[in-house]
Each structure stands twice: as C-alpha cells, then as structure tokens.
Symmetry: D2
Subunit: 234 residues, 4 copies
Amino acid sequence: MATVTIWNEFRHEREDDDVAAVYPDGIHETIADGLTDGERVHDIQYATLEEPDHGLTEDVLERTDVLLWWGHEAHDEVADEIVDRVHRRVLEGMGLIALHSAHYSKPFKRLMGTTCSLQYREAGETERLWVVDPGHPIVDGLDESLELPRTEMYGEPFDVPEPDRLVFLSWFEGGEVFRSGCCYRRGSGRIFYFRPGHETYPIYENEEIRRVLRNAVAWASPTDGSPRTFGERE
Amino acid sequence: MATVTIWNEFRHEREDDDVAAVYPDGIHETIADGLTDGERVHDIQYATLEEPDHGLTEDVLERTDVLLWWGHEAHDEVADEIVDRVHRRVLEGMGLIALHSAHYSKPFKRLMGTTCSLQYREAGETERLWVVDPGHPIVDGLDESLELPRTEMYGEPFDVPEPDRLVFLSWFEGGEVFRSGCCYRRGSGRIFYFRPGHETYPIYENEEIRRVLRNAVAWASPTDGSPRTFGERE
Amino acid sequence: MATVTIWNEFRHEREDDDVAAVYPDGIHETIADGLTDGERVHDIQYATLEEPDHGLTEDVLERTDVLLWWGHEAHDEVADEIVDRVHRRVLEGMGLIALHSAHYSKPFKRLMGTTCSLQYREAGETERLWVVDPGHPIVDGLDESLELPRTEMYGEPFDVPEPDRLVFLSWFEGGEVFRSGCCYRRGSGRIFYFRPGHETYPIYENEEIRRVLRNAVAWASPTDGSPRTFGERE
Amino acid sequence: MATVTIWNEFRHEREDDDVAAVYPDGIHETIADGLTDGERVHDIQYATLEEPDHGLTEDVLERTDVLLWWGHEAHDEVADEIVDRVHRRVLEGMGLIALHSAHYSKPFKRLMGTTCSLQYREAGETERLWVVDPGHPIVDGLDESLELPRTEMYGEPFDVPEPDRLVFLSWFEGGEVFRSGCCYRRGSGRIFYFRPGHETYPIYENEEIRRVLRNAVAWASPTDGSPRTFGERE
C-alpha cells in the first residue's frame, strides 16, 4: 500500500567480489524481496548514489511514503542539497528506516543532532536481538528474541538521543550490548533505526529480519495529521 | 472494526435534571453516536456501574479492543477486583481512553502510579485546544486548534508521569493551561487521556471532539506484538 | 548530606546460613558501608519489616531524603497503609532506590503502574553492565562497563514503563540482556531501579556498585521545586 | 561556581534606539546581572558575533561549563565552523541555554534536528508561564506561575523533538499556548530552551526570570560521567 523508496549506495556490490557473491543484484533488490511477502504489496522504487540527485529528486521523494537507507563507505559523497531535501520530507511526514551503517548517514545524523558514533568489531560473532517492547507493531509476529549466527558487532555507547521507544536490544557473543531498534518522531515523520545488516553476511535474507522490515514500513508510513502552520499570526 | 466498550458511571443522568437534559439516554449513548460516522463502524458495547461486575466481566473485557471510561462522582464505588481486571487487560494490550474526570478513576490512577490531581474551576469559560503534535494519528483531519465555547477549566500542575507523547494543550479564558491529550504505553496497552467532556455541556456532540475520539479508538487498538513471557528461564 | 533510610526485609539473613555468611549484620549494614566513603557522609537510618510500621513511621519518612529498598521473599507482608505512605512521600519529592528483587516490591509496583515482571535464572553467571548514558551523574567516575563475576540473571522483557532515562544495560553470559539502571520521575520524586544485588553473592561489597549507589543517592535527593497546589481554583 | 559564557549577537543594541534604551550595555550585561545574585557567583565571560571566531575560540569553549545564547536577526552570519565547535562541546558535556529567538540559532537547530519553527505575534500581550513540573530544579523557589505583562507571543506548533522534560507552559492573552521551558540531553550535554526574552521588553530584569536562569545554569552544568569511547573495539 505504501510507496517505498530503497536507497542504496550501491558500491560494495560492484567493487568487492565477496559482497557481489551475497548481493549480486545489489542489496536493494534483496531488501525489496523481503518487503513483498504476498500480503503487503508495496510500490517499490530504487535510488542509488551514482544517479543524478542520487535518485532522490523532488518528485521521487514527494511520492515516497517510507525511505529505506543503506549506505556504508560513501556517506560523505551524498550532496548536502539532497540531505536537505530528505530532511525536509521526513519532517513533513515521510518515514525513514536507517539500516545498519546508516547510523553514520548524513540524513540520520541531521535528524538526530548527535554524532551517532558507536563501538564495532568485525568478527562474525553471534547476535541475539531481544524484544523489549512486546506491544510494539514493529514486532508483530516475532518470537521473544531472534538470533543471527554471524554478524558485525555494534556496541554501546551509541551516541543518539534517548529513543522515543526502544524496541530491540542486542546481545553479542563477545560481551557487548546495543540498542538495535530505536523509534523516533521528528516533525511529522517516523524514524526507525535498525541495526542488523551487513554487506557480506546475508542478513536481509533472514525471514525474521524481513518481517521486522515489513512491520517497520507499515509503522513508519505517514498519517494525515493536522496542518503544520508556522510564521506570523493574525 | 475494533470492539469498543464504553463504560459509564451512569448516575448523573438519572439523578440530575440538568444532566438528563443534555444526555437523556446516558452519556455513553452520545459517545457511541460519535464513534459511528459511517466510515469506521465499531462493534460497541456498554457497561455501567450498577451492573454485576460493573458490566466488566472477564468475557466482556476479553473481547474488548478499546475501553472508554467515563466516571465522575462514584470513583470509589468501583470494586478493586474489577480494577485489577481492567488493569491486567490493558497491560495485555487493550486500549484505554480516559475521559475528562476519569483522570481520577481507579484504573487510570493505577496505571499512572501518581495522584492524577489537578486544578479546576467550573465557570463555563472558553477552552481552545491546540495541536502540539501535528503528525499524530489522533489529530488526523483536525485543524491546528479547536474551540469549545463553554467548559469546566482544568489547570496545571497535572500530577501524571511525563506523557510518552503530548498531543493537545488547552488554553483557558481565565488564564490557565493544561496538557489535555496525553498518550501513554503501559505493558502492551495504549492509553489516551482526553480532557474535554462534561456532564452539563454537550461536549461529546461537537464534531471535532468526535473525530478525536474516533481517531483515538483506532490509535489505541491492540496490535499483535510478540509474546510477553515472564518467570524462570531454562 | 542527605538523610538516607535503608529498608531491609531482613529475613534471609536470619533464616538462611548461606545468606548470613555473606551479610552477617544484614544486607542494610553492607549497603550503608558503601554509602560512607569518607567524602559524602550521609545520615543513615535503618528500617526493617518486623518493626512497628515496618520502621517507616510518618516521622521517619518525613525526614528521609532518599529511601533504599531491599525486599525479596516477603513483599506481600508489607502493609498497604505503609505503601500508601511511601508512595505519597515519593510524589512529594523523596527519592526511591529500588534494589534488585525490589522490582516486585509494593512501592515500586505502585509507582510504575505495571507488573514489573521479568525473566530470571539463578546460575551464578557473569554479568557485564554497560553504561549507555555516559553523561549521567549516576555514572560519575565509572569506566565504560563493569563486570560482576557471579550473578542471578534478569532478562527482558521487563514490564515497566519506558524509563525517562536508561543508564545501564546488562549483558549476561547465558545470552540475555536487561535494562539494569532505569531512572523515573513520579510527582516530584526521583526513582532509580538498579538491578545488581543478591542475597548470596556479595554484590554490595563491589566498589563500583557502591559508587553507583552513592551517585544514585545524590541524584535522587529532592530539590526545592515549586508548590504542588491542587483542587478548586479561585 | 560554573564558568558561564554569554553569547550575544549584539547588534540590535547598537543599531536600534529602542533596544539601546532597554539594554544600553548590551543584553549580555543584563543577563549577567541576573546570574550574580550574591549566593551563586559564576565566572562569567562574554562573546559576541563581531569578534574573531564570534568570541568562541576553542579555549573559551573548553573552559565554558554553560553557554547562554542570544541571537535574533543575524543567525545566518554565524560561521558553520563555530557551530561545529559549539555542537561538539555540547555533546562532550557543556550546557547550552537557548534564549527566546535562539530557537532559530544554528547551534540549537543542529542539536534538535528539526526546523524549530513556531508561530509568533508582536503585540505586547500578557504571558503567564505555568510550572508543569514542580519537582524540577529549574523551578526551585518559584511560585506555581509567573506573569510577564508585555511580551511577544510564540505559539504552537513548535517544531522540536518531544522534550525529555517539559518544565513550563505559556498562556498568552490572545489565545495561544507554548512549550516555553524544554529540557533535552544530547550526548553528555544538557540543553534548556527558555522562551521569555525580547529586545525591547525588559524581560531579563524580571526577578523570577533571573531565578530561572540561575537555576538553569546550575542544572545545565556538566557532571563527570563516564568515558565516551567510540570506534573499533579489541
């Protein structure tokens, strides 16, 4: 029902054979597969870094209900003008789902107002995500936890504002924890940061992760609301 | 779509001619009229203080998605056993909409954990409710503010926990302000406190107020979530 | 500077040799030792279950700035009248620090409005507490994490309202996580739930845990504030 | 005790006779007068737009505990490099108090991540500020409300993230309301937005407003906390 735009940096997949082996058509295609489970069919568009306006023209954003963002090694190449555009649309109501290393993407950092720094370790270790908010629509249909056998570790402190709603906490084999599912409202827009994902582990093929993404798209879709009128009065 | 139970103390309307003139069939009937606007037809049940179990048997609560609560002069006559039952159901996911003087109702106070005290004045003065969260589904279709020509004043401080989300602020002619629309999550349940309402002013006939109540029922309806499992592990 | 009252159920220590071996003078004495580090000398009082009014007379509570609560097996024996009294004083500004199994104590549950249930396992496993809010006064002087070699596990979901401020997250050897340090404001009172503690592991002799408790007492101490005036106006 | 830096755009006072009549030595001097009430003597520094680095060198910021910010007509002239510097220091722990039209200042907008827009009207109307959080240290010693006879109106919606703690609500004669005292934490820094203030009304000579500013400086002062360590681990 929602119109979803999946933004992918789309560089790893073309430059690195290991990544290409996992995501041969680009990570955006794999994410898109997970969003279409037969029940909830979304209208899906793609946008990538190398396109004009990184694929995020005014038109594309105007008709986007929810934007998913995957970026990793080229955050700095995203033009500030496009960041302004995405930022404005989120405040107007467009949902934003920031995936994994998108904690460092420009649009997410702009919206958070903090560094969004964290600790990390690439060791292919086990991660278990615990649901800490069992009544949240983002966890509809999940079990009390879900396990990923091989992931990159992200550890606290995570320099973000206190989430409006904390949905997932991660446990890592090596001894760390992380706030892995964080909900925010900024302006009229809903923002969900979701930690899992990696360019060489096939995280987005995991059925439970796909369920979370589908739920998150539904949750982040805009509602009508009331007018946002600013400026001089009377 | 949702199954809604409207609980009414139902005493004023039978004991006081002024109240009976405004709400001849009971305030619950007027509230119910507002919930059925043709578009969103809910399955509506009534429950009142004088019935066995105050009308809130295990069965009734089990099939209730959202409970609306109107009480005013007989809060203390609500049996603790029934309060326990309502409380448990809210934590399991049932929505609760506490109306006007239900700030002092036992179920709402139990869920808040505070006195829920406030200041008040009965002077038939003008109230203007301002939307402070224009992106919230509870304000879908509203203008930036709505006005009630004659209301009882409720003033700050309002002794409740900081709301998860503050939706409305009221301005009163006499110089006071009030947090009039407050959203909370407790367990898996969604709770909305909504200030407007009175036994002798026909607040629940106001079209904008009715719209808020319809939106609030949709917002407070339970989602599936994930299991709430407690106790010893492994 | 603050006047601190340490409430202890004080039953385990007298009925169970294993507990008596760890806390021969009662767990309250050990907690008190940790609060007096030379720098910050508090005026400390004790109160226990068997005393009249459980030691919590109006007078005692009136002069208490911060109440620490340890209870485990006799939560139900705490009289509701005393719970009312503690509850009222917290709303007026008295700080409350709920320790370990006090998540199930009557005053804490009253203030939270939820079941405060969780998962647990008694297996003497390692716990690592991560600071997720490095700017909070409760973590003054701590490192980025602290480790307890043998603890009882508490796991999510923890059925409490979303904390105003989440300070610690726990990682457990067996694969669970927990929100171990949670800050709340209710009325004018500050509440801190702190998970570590056990009747047979000497948690309260740990220097880092003692530092947290001293910091928490300072944080939870009341400020002057402004009047809490309720009722009819003008 | 704290080292306070008062930043003033310092343009109105030199270009507009009406402003100069109210604040002949600059609004920073009047604010400073209010911070030194004999009891709590702060070390106060000034910084203004026209100075090199707008007076906010690395050295000045390094020794600043709390930065107060007054700006109005020249927000855009503040260099981004200096905004980066202020932003970084706030995340490290420096307090920031944004006064009146500083809702539109670059450092405040950077930290909030939203437009910080609002409605306004310049009509010299009465404002009454209500304390909605009577237990907060920022309201120590205040009455339940305070009144300003002539102010510029600011009205909702105010496009900021939901405050961590809402302390004041304003009522305006003309029918509007506003969240006038908003507390935030970003990184290790405490941020307080305080609405009152104007270049031609002598708001900062009001004793109650001065009390709020003194309390806010105490509240926003950094604590030691624990290390903020980011990056690769192990």
